[in-house]
Subunit: 359 residues, 2 copies
């Protein structure tokens, strides 16, 4: 087991990474508050892992809330079901929510914990690679509004994150690849040697070899932990670097109405588009584009946009919630392993990039 800490003063918390954590009673005991617990999970994950977790927490008072699976349910209506469970289960301020699932479960459970009685503890047990390396770490929680993703939420740091790599063995290949997009992102924004390691380790990662999984997740979480510790609430621009590829990715997801594209797949193409645009601006050597494209392919990810007019994607990029003062901020690369936030990017250059990756 690897462990690392995310340094946020009194909100500092540990991230544990390794196979079989779901059964480690002592580890949970050391990291959970004393009161009643509410496990929030979904209909897909519950049959796979809820019983294991129940046994691990057998000595505790535990209530359960099993939500429908999928992004369309990530809204205020479903959130109300979590509150109902917390109240019916008499969970008080000394209790905690345990999120057992992927990003949707983690975001909703975390937001419920942020709001219930003005904030109770939340432990995250992410069950997808994407949530293990990204959404479970850093305290961003939210639900969607019909007009946009994650528009209603809170910053609420978990009390602990338990990334059990064994659960990744049951993850569908496509979701595994989607998670790898975020892993690649960390190499691009912060660590060229990690990117190079991924170029060689990718086949073993896709084969779910434990050693490589623990390494990839630990290094990803360490980079995210460092950035979040420096800019918890995305005020200095540092944390915004984690959005590399995401403005493009969100536009793609919205354009296809979230049909047929996983978030990580859209982010993967977004990474390629951001790299291409960085080269067009003369920030990086064009040879980086080929390395990014090749790594995405070896991760089983797409490298071509959906069939949507570049002008429409440009319009959708303007809707991104990070737009303030009317200027579109974009994260770009200075070199492999070094990113920066720019607010001066010419529309025509963006359109050139968008056109280049049309199907």
């Amino acid at each position: 087991m690897q462990s690392l800490s995310i340094a946020l003063g009194e909100r500092t918390y540990p991230i544990y990474i390794g196979p079989g954590l779901l059964s480690e009673t002592a580890l949970f005991e050391a990291n959970l508050p004393a009161g009643a617990l509410c496990i929030v999970t979904n209909e897909t994950v519950a049959p796979l892992y809820l019983d294991t977790l129940r046994k691990t927490l057998a000595h505790r008072r535990v209530v359960e809330c099993v939500l429908p699976d999928g992004e369309p349910h990530k809204n205020l209506t479903t959130l109300a079901r979590v509150f109902d469970s917390l109240i019916a289960g008499r969970v008080h301020r000394d209790g905690a929510i345990i999120a057992l699932g992927g990003g949707v479960v983690g975001d909703m459970a975390g937001f419920a914990a942020a709001c219930y009685q003005r904030g109770i503890a939340c432990a995250q047990i992410p069950t997808t690679l994407l949530s293990q390396v990204d959404s479970s770490v850093g305290g961003k929680t939210a639900v969607n509004h019909p007009q946009g993703k994650n528009l209603i939420g809170a910053f609420h740091q978990p009390c602990a994150v338990f990334a059990d790599t064994k659960v990744l063995q049951t993850l569908p290949d496509r979701e595994m690849s989607a998670g790898l997009a975020e892993v690649i992102k960390y190499g691009l924004i912060e660590d060229a040697s990690f990117f190079a390691w991924l170029e060689s380790a990718m086949p073993k990662l896709r084969a779910r070899e434990e050693r490589e999984l623990v390494e990839a997740i630990s290094r990803s979480c360490a980079i995210k932990a460092q950035i979040v510790a420096e800019d918890e609430r995305e005020t200095t621009g540092r944390r915004a670097l984690l959005n590399l590829g995401h403005t493009f990715g969100h536009a793609i997801e919205t354009a296809v109405d979230y049909q047929g594209w996983l978030h990580g797949e859209a982010v993967g193409v977004g990474l390629l588009l951001a790299t291409d645009l960085s080269a067009r601006l003369g920030l990086i050597d064009p040879s980086v584009i080929a390395r990014v494209k090749s790594l995405l392919e070896s991760a089983g990810l797409r490298t071509v946009s959906p069939r949507v007019a570049p002008e429409q994607l440009w319009e959708l990029m303007q809707m991104d919630k990070k737009v303030s003062g009317g200027k579109l901020p974009l994260v770009l690369l200075n070199q492999l392993g070094d990113a920066q936030l720019r607010r001066d990017v010419d529309q025509e250059l963006v359109l050139q990039t968008l056109r280049h990756y049309q199907p």
Copy 2:
């Protein structure tokens, strides 16, 4: 105009108190962020003051959200209407909500601001005495759940509070008295000389004389500001002192299903019950009971419980969300102007107090 500051590090903010603030364009300008503004108000307050505020902010881009009036609407469904207005009005992270109304509007608008895009600024313009001295200050925001008040919320400090004493001229007498209950509370928990001042100033306060209003609100806010600055998130027990009378009061409100009793009226009786219980425990001289009863009467408040069995009130007190670890915490008086949180109060003594104030 009086002004004071609530010292919370980077979340420090000013409270302005005086007649006619609603028209002070420069004061708003100095305290609001640059982006679009969303005024959240209700159907009762809008006809009285929305037009004045519109004129004050005439040079700014402003959207409006007029909610139905009353506690039954303080829920997730009504909250969603605020989010709809923010999104339709293209309010971004550089924008702000302005809450124009009493406690219900302030709590909902504040909670919407806490969650929208994970937190935007919120200015409070409380239009009742109760909200001017209590709910608009301190950052507690929430909506109700069918099973209990304020169960879903956040700590989200406002960017500024504008307490316009002129608006109190249109406040119904009964609501004026309800607000005075919280004013009396501040004297009881923290400042015996303020309590004594209230004993002489009460007739002028009920006649809405500006000088006395500004003095009462300023001293109340100063006490609350000090306590909140010392214990923003109610972790040390210091902030809990602000709940003097509230555990009794909430039980009364729940027992009568919020029918026929205003929050401040229930708190008023709660103050008397807490004082009586403090005397039964030998903490204070019994003569204080008569002074509290007399001041409540001169404020136009009730001094007798509703017709509910003491045992039922005791049960309802256990439901209070501050209960953790199974013990009922109660705020009691050591003397006039000095309160403490106790967790060891004997049930039989509480029942004696409850019986004594039966109708």
